[in-house]
Symmetry: C2
Subunit: 71 residues, 2 copies
DNA sequence: CGCCCATGTCAAAAATAATTAACATGGGTT
DNA sequence: AACCCATGTTAATTATTTTTGACATGGGCG
């Protein structure tokens, strides 16, 4: 299972606000829909590059999309 | 060589401002000094978790430490 | 009901990040 | 010169992320 992630994110919320599917979001930032699903469910910490791509797509700051939620 | 990273960072500058060595920074955030050196030289995109740890140590936002510099 | 579509999930493999253990270099100091 | 110390760098390995391909579920709609 891997240790719990200290990060949380609002990717799903922001994606749904825009009426996008996981597949569309993945396509837009260059990852697969499975990767988007894993990120939304916080199954692992994405690369900083993926995080920037998502934030830029949503026109938000990285820290508006991803946040520290524990040590 | 790997494709050029679209990210840049100010880790070295912020580390030096605080008079820390690469080894000390690595110890503080839980990675090795080689990893710190690689991040400073932008040899790869760190995990989002490492990026948050660095930013929090420096009491800065993630985007104040790391920035998008290309496509 | 039957058919899409979006999502969840899984296993195996590929790609990339990070570790470990070396050795090299240059600066400063004695 | 000899000695530290911080940094650079590399090869080999381990850990983690991401991909690929597959199959399952539930909702909406004909």
């Amino acid at each position: 299972m891997g240790r719990p992630s200290p990060l949380g994110n609002r990717v799903r919320e922001l994606r749904e606000e825009r009426g996008m599917t996981q597949a569309e979001l993945g396509e837009a930032i260059g990852v697969t829909r499975q990767t988007v699903a894993a990120i939304e469910q916080n199954r692992y910490s994405p690369s900083l590059e993926s995080a920037f791509r998502i934030a830029r797509l949503f026109e938000r700051g990285v820290e508006d999309v991803f946040y520290w939620s524990g040590s």
